[in-house]
Amino acid sequence: MPSFATFLLAVGQAAALLLLAPLASGFCRVLRAKIHTRTGPPLLQDYRDIFKLLKRQEVVPKGAGLIFRATPFVLMATLLTIAMSLPVLTLASPLGAVGNLFTFICLLALVRFFFSLSGIESGSAFAGLGASRETTMGVLMEPAILLALFVAALLAGSSDLGRISLAFASPSKGLIAAEFAATAAIAFAAFVEMGKVPYDMAEAEQELQEGPLTEYSGPGLALLKWSLRLKQMVMASFLIGVFLPYGAAASATAVSLLWAALVFAVKLVIVFAVVALIENSVARNRFFATSRATWIGFGIATLALVFYLVGL
């Protein structure tokens, strides 16, 4: 059971990730505009969008029921649970009882389950197709993400996320190649999970009217958009906190936590900048061509396993 201080840390980091999520997406929008050499929206535009939507009337389609209404709440609660369990500022999970890699994967499945079910339930053809794609992406990404995490856990000798980050922060055991390949595979998986171009399969804006979001409006849409941004934030923090933890606090003193927060913020900016760069320099993929890319991701993860087995 967590002590009060670590619990406070967990609440603090979840709150910070939630509050900063629209800022990160706003940052991506600004960068996108810069790449297009246009003025673009201000940095805080996403906060304005969310608060505007909160004041709008909610329109619920015919046939939509409890799951359609509940999904925005389920999604945000689940993502906050994940956010509390990640090792972000420290080299240990603040909530070890939830911060386990297999738990992490299953919590992501919870998000996916409700997100796609709400799409089917709305009764919209676009949302249904988006739901189908969302779950298919889950199937395609699962081998890569699971194997890469599995190898990382083998390197650390534990499936606890905190212990994995501790092992990655101190690469004294060698096996650099395996660590590098696992990190690469996870970076790829995290990017796909963020739902950005070219892998915005489920929420494709031009193609599917944002998939499962099609029929949402008002506060439901606000919560859902915020949750999806929180998911991007969680995936980025997961990558940074577990696989690139250099600078995170080994012991939770005030100074080291502040330093860790600073380093984390810089890394977050870099990650989102790279993400923005990628999403603006490629075209959308054909959906059925996605499996080739995900097999490459799985290939990298397999490489990590091979490196681990031969001791590189």
């Binding site: 359609f68 009882a97 009764g123 699962e142 194997l147």
Partner: protein, 669 residues
């Protein structure tokens, strides 16, 4: 005490079965239901003390065979099985009481009650029989009663499915029987107790294990011996499907554990690798085929193949651990397998009962004819949702906990196992991951298409909620799914005890509200904490949504969906086939394998079709050559005898006197 209660439970089942045969229909279904629930409660009470206390209860009774006594043995493993059977038995009996009355009125309600009760009783007897001969007898009773239930509907599909089931089940029994006879030849006794201590030569043990593995594997429905399962389970009445998928196939797993671990001691490492490999393949193929199904019951049946695979993965790791002398690995593997066995029993029967409720309203098993049932059947929908979340390993429900342990067992195997295992275990984990992701897709489809949106047929629109006995049957199982998940810190130690009774080594698995695989450094999990967090953190979005609640207009319900300006049409909505299409395209080769195998099977069909015709001809020969002459001779003898029967009373008196004289002569001499 446990023995008495167990006997009482069996007696109640048999009494209910017999009463069902003689009572009028309405009373018969009620009596079956009530006796089933009562027997289940008594059976549960018999097994619980053994599971918690751990002292095996044994008894030996003389039977009709001089060479094989009936040996009763209720140890921890069989207590777990008895608990599983009775838990499901209670829910199914409750559900069946009204379901049978509604669906099968005038179509053999009494026979159904008779068969269902005997089916459950025979499953209970199989798991406590500690003698090979009696084991086979009850195993066969279970196969036969279930066969009659599969063919109950008497349509072509049911008869065809029943025939396939009959063949494969008996082929399996034959393999098991050969295995037991080999053991008998070595130990000279049908009692399992004699086998436990015996030092068997390794080749013999391996042969017996292989025979038992494939024999019981056929019953469990593992790939490639699963072909009967997706046909036979949907053909049966829904509450029987719940029993078939929920417990009967687990008897197959029980058999593998009983013979492989309990009797033979899992002495050879490759046995476990074999079980793990078959499990991993079953897990992936089962769910891939499930995804392509439109028939809701076939979809669920294919998921049983998947989950048997997951259970076998845990059992396989457990056997590897025993063979390698690694008590932690052995215990975690067996905990994972047995926990998933119990969990799958709970959520799969729940899903089958939910499907049964829906089918009883829509009168079609095609999900394309359902839809919109969430609004008219809210309790069924909620129960089905809980079952779906359980089977998809969604936290914090039960399927998640056992899959978590399965992942942990694979992780430990990859960390500490042999070099072969270090390669195989990560791949098996990937296959489990794919299976879980596919299960999510499959149940989003199953729940979404069945319960969400608008009705796709008139019957779906006119559907009503099922009666309270059916709802409470589902409610019992739904409560089990939640309790087995959130109550993991209580349940895991019980599973540990069962595993310890098999391996002889106990490990630490729980402390306070967390569970862990042997060592907390490997990873911990607290489902109660997760449940609290998931529910508690919903306060954040509730707060955000409430921010401007006063200023915004009330939600507008019942709007039309947006179809780019066209009038929305029900046909525009995603169909069960369309939803799964990406997987069908991306995994085409795996479907090709099945089509190829089905083709081979179809080639065998004319031979099977010829069999009844041949039997019919043989039957006539029998008539002509044996029965007809016999009949003719009896007739002729009768004609000859008529001479005696002249019709004169005096002649008859003479006969009597003659008979008396003859008898006196015999007596005097």
């Amino acid at each position: 005490m446990s023995l008495t209660l167990f006997a009482l439970s069996i007696a109640l089942y048999v009494a209910g079965a017999l009463a069902s045969l003689v009572l009028p229909e309405r009373a018969a279904s009620r009596v079956t239901g009530v006796s089933g629930v009562a027997a289940a409660v008594v059976g549960f009470a018999a097994a619980l003390p053994v599971l918690v206390g751990g002292e095996p209860v044994t008894a030996t009774m003389a039977g009709p065979f001089p060479f094989a006594h009936f040996v009763f043995r209720l140890d921890r493993l069989s207590a777990l099985m008895v608990l599983t059977v009775t838990l499901l038995g209670a829910a199914v009996s409750l559900f069946g009481a009204t379901y049978v009355e509604e669906e099968y009125a005038g179509r053999g309600v009494r026979t159904m009650g008779f068969l269902v009760n005997l089916f459950i009783a025979s499953m209970l007897l199989v798991v406590v029989a500690d003698n090979a001969l009696w084991f086979i007898v009850f195993f066969e009773a279970m196969s036969l009663t279930s066969y009659f239930l599969v063919v109950f509907d008497q349509d072509d599909e049911a008869i065809g499915a029943g025939w396939l089931y009959f063949l494969i089940a008996h082929a399996g029994t034959l393999l098991v029987l050969i295995g037991f006879l080999l053991l008998y030849g070595r130990t000279g006794s049908f009692d399992f107790a004699g086998v436990r201590g015996a030092a068997l030569p390794a080749p013999l043990a391996s042969v017996v294990f292989l025979l038992a593995f494939f024999g019981f594997g056929a019953k469990a429905g593992m790939v490639p011996l699963h072909i009967w399962l997706p046909r036979a389970h949907p053909a049966a009445p829904s509450h029987v499907s719940a029993l078939l998928s929920g417990v009967m196939i687990k008897i197959g797993v029980f058999g593998i554990v009983k013979v492989g671990v309990d009797l033979l001691g899992a002495t050879t490492a490759w046995w476990g690798v074999l079980v793990l490999a078959f499990g991993a393949v079953s897990a992936v193929l089962g769910v891939i085929y499930a995804l392509a199904e439109h028939d809701i019951k076939r979809l669920l049946a294919y998921h049983s193949v998947e989950n048997i695979g997951i259970i076998l993965m845990g059992v396989g790791i457990g056997m590897i651990g025993i063979a390698a002398g690694q008590p932690v690995l052995a215990a975690v593997g067996l905990i994972a397998g047995l926990y998933h066995l119990l969990n799958h029993a709970a959520f799969k029967s729940l899903l089958f009962l939910g499907a049964g409720s829906v089918v009883s309203r829509v009168h079609s098993k095609d999900m394309g004819h359902m839809g919109g049932l969430l609004h008219v059947m809210p309790w069924t929908a909620l129960a089905f949702l809980i079952g779906a979340l359980g089977i998809c390993a969604i936290p914090p429900l039960n399927g998640f906990v056992s899959e978590w342990f399965t992942y942990q067992s694979l992780f430990l195997a990859a960390l500490h196992g042999s070099s072969l295992l270090r390669l195989l275990a990560p791949l098996a984990a990937v296959m489990l991951g794919i299976a879980s992701a596919l299960a999510v897709m499959c149940f989003v489809k199953a729940f979404g298409v069945t319960f969400s949106g608008e009705p796709r047929s008139k019957k779906a629109a006119a559907a009503t909620e099922v009666g309270w006995p059916m709802v409470s049957g589902m409610g019992l199982l739904a409560a089990c799914c939640v309790a087995l998940g959130i109550g993991a810190p209580v349940v895991a130690p019980l599973m540990r005890d069962v595993a310890a009774s098999l391996t002889g080594h106990g490990i630490a698995v729980a402390s306070g509200a967390v569970v862990f695989p042997g060592d907390a450094a490997t990873g911990v999990l607290s489902t109660p904490l997760m449940a609290i967090l998931l529910i508690g953190l919903a306060a954040v979005p509730l707060f955000i949504a409430g921010l401007y609640a006063g200023r915004r207009p009330r939600p507008r319900l019942g709007a039309e969906v947006w179809a780019c300006g066209y009038a929305p049409d029900a046909a525009m909505r995603v169909s069960p086939g369309g939803f799964a299409e990406p997987i069908k395209v991306l995994f085409r080769p795996l479907y090709g394998v099945r089509d190829w195998a089905d083709g081979r099977l179809a080639a065998l069909k004319p031979w099977f079709a010829g069999l009844p015709a041949a039997a019919a001809r043989v039957e006539q020969l029998w008539d002509r050559w044996l029965l007809a002459p016999l009949e003719r001779d009896v007739q002729a003898a009768g004609v000859q005898m008529q001479v005696l029967q002249g019709g004169d009373v005096r002649v008859y008196c003479l006969y009597i006197v003659a008979a008396l004289v003859a008898l006196l002569a015999v007596a005097i001499r």
